[in-house]
C-alpha cells in the first residue's frame, strides 16, 4: 500500500473508525490495522496530529478517563464529524464506482 495514497484518505478512515464510539489513539491504529487486514499499518505517532487536527476542526471531541491506572484520552465524533463522515463516505463511493466503471470498459490484458 502506497503511503501517499493512504495519507489522502486518513481523515476519512479516522472518522470512520471513531464513529463506533469513544476510542483512544492506540485503539484507532489497532482498528485500522484489523479492518484493513494489516494493509494500513501506520507509523503510530502520525495518528495523533490527525486526531488533534480533526478535533481542532470540530469534527472530534475528547474526554479523559482512567485505564490501567493511567490517564487515557478518548475521542468520539461530534455531530459535525458525523455529518462529514456521511458526506466523505458518499464521495468515496462515487469515486470508487467511477473508477470501477472506467476499468470495466478497458478489460485487461488489452488486445490492440
Amino acid at each position: 500500500m502506497n503511503a501517499e495514497s493512504l495519507k489522502g484518505h486518513l481523515d476519512l478512515l479516522v472518522l470512520a473508525v471513531t464513529s463506533a464510539g469513544p476510542i483512544h489513539g492506540y485503539g484507532v491504529i489497532e482498528r485500522l490495522r484489523e479492518r484493513s487486514q494489516g494493509s494500513f499499518d501506520l507509523a503510530e505517532g502520525t495518528v495523533y496530529p490527525v486526531l488533534h487536527r480533526l478535533e481542532r476542526a470540530g469534527l472530534l471531541e475528547h474526554e479523559w478517563s482512567e485505564a490501567s491506572g493511567r490517564r487515557r484520552k478518548l475521542y468520539r465524533l461530534t455531530p459535525a464529524g458525523q455529518a462529514r463522515l456521511v458526506e466523505q463516505r458518499a464521495g468515496w463511493r462515487e469515486f470508487v464506482d467511477a473508477v470501477e466503471s472506467v476499468l470495466r470498459r478497458n478489460p485487461w490484458p488489452q488486445t490492440a
Partner: protein
C-alpha cells in the same frame, strides 16, 4: 523494569521538544498511554518486555519527528493561527523571496546607484518592504504558535510589533531607524521564545540573536549621522537594509528546509 526505563527516556526526550506548549502534560500522558498499551498488547502475545518496549517505541517514531508533527496543530487559537502553524515552511520561503526582491527594488527606489531616484520607484520599494515585514511577522506568529500550542498574549504582541514595522516601512521606508529596529525586536523576541522548539538550526538562531541588535543599532546610527551631517545616507541605509534582508532570508530558508524535511521524514509510512 527495563521497559519503563526506555519509555520514560522517550517521554523525557519528547517532553523537551514540546517544552513550551501549554498542553504539554496532556500530550505526554496521551503518548504514555499509547506506548504502554502497545507494550501490554505485545506482552500478551508472548513478547518479552524489553523487546516489547523497543518494538513499541520503534513503531511510534522518533521523538523529533513526532514532536514536529504534533506541534503543527495548535491546541488553542483561531483558524488564522492554525493556518500559519501548518503552512510555516511555505510562508518562510515566501518571506525570504520577498526580502531578496525588496533589496533589488530598493536599489532603484531608495538610492541613485543605478538609476535616478523616482517617487514611483520609492512607493513600489516601500510596498515591497512592507509586504516582506508582514510575511515575516506571519512566520513569527506561526513559530510562536507551534512552540506554545496557542495564540497567547505575547504572540499577539509580537504580531502587533511586526505589523507596526510594516506600517512604518510603508509610510517611511527610507527612515530605517524606525521600522528596522521594530522588526528586529519581534524577531529577537520570537527567537528567544522558540529556542527550545528547534524550529531552525542553533547556529542560525545565534546569528540572528547577534546580528539583529547590531543591525538595529546600525540603522539608528546611520540615520542619526545622516540627519546630523546632512550627508546623503541613502547608500549606507541600503547597505544596512541589504544586510538585514540577507540574514533574514537565510534564516527563513533554513527554517523552511528544516521543517519541510522533518515533515517529509515523518509522513505516514505504511508496511507491505
Amino acid at each position: 523494569m527495563a521497559a519503563d526505563g526506555l519509555i520514560d527516556q522517550y517521554l523525557t526526550a519528547l517532553g523537551k521538544r514540546v517544552r513550551s506548549r501549554s498542553d504539554r502534560h496532556d500530550l505526554l500522558d496521551e503518548v504514555r498511554d499509547h506506548l504502554l498499551s502497545a507494550v501490554e498488547r505485545l506482552e500478551a502475545l508472548g513478547v518479552d518486555s524489553p523487546t516489547a518496549e523497543r518494538r513499541a517505541l520503534t513503531r511510534f517514531g522518533q521523538p523529533k519527528l513526532v514532536a514536529a508533527l504534533i506541534t503543527e496543530v495548535p491546541s488553542k487559537g483561531n483558524l488564522m493561527s492554525l493556518f500559519l502553524a501548518r503552512h510555516l515552511p511555505a510562508m518562510s520561503v515566501a518571506a525570504a523571496v520577498t526580502w531578496l526582491v525588496a533589496v533589488a527594488v530598493a536599489v532603484y527606489g531608495q538610492t541613485d546607484l543605478l538609476a535616478t531616484w523616482t517617487p514611483e520607484a520609492y512607493i513600489v520599494s516601500s510596498a515591497v518592504i512592507a509586504v516582506a515585514c508582514v510575511l515575516t511577522a506571519s512566520v513569527l506568529v506561526g513559530l510562536n504558535v507551534r512552540a506554545t500550542g496557542e495564540l497567547d498574549t505575547t504572540t499577539i504582541l509580537i504580531a502587533l510589533i511586526g505589523i507596526m514595522s510594516a506600517v512604518a516601512a510603508l509610510l517611511l521606508s527610507w527612515f530605517i531607524a524606525l521600522w528596522l529596529p521594530l522588526l528586529a525586536i519581534a524577531v529577537i523576541w520570537t527567537m528567544v521564545r522558540a529556542w527550545t522548539m528547534h524550529a531552525g538550526s542553533r547556529p542560525f538562531a545565534v546569528v540572528m540573536l547577534v546580528t539583529m541588535p547590531l543591525l538595529a543599532a546600525a540603522a539608528i546610527v546611520t540615520t542619526v549621522i545622516g540627519q546630523a551631517t546632512r550627508l546623503d545616507n541613502a547608500v549606507a541605509s541600503w547597505i544596512v537594509f541589504a544586510g538585514l534582508a540577507a540574514v533574514l532570508a537565510a534564516t527563513l530558508v533554513d527554517v523552511a528546509v528544516r521543517l519541510g524535511r522533518r515533515a517529509t521524514h515523518a509522513k505516514v509510512s505504511v508496511a507491505g
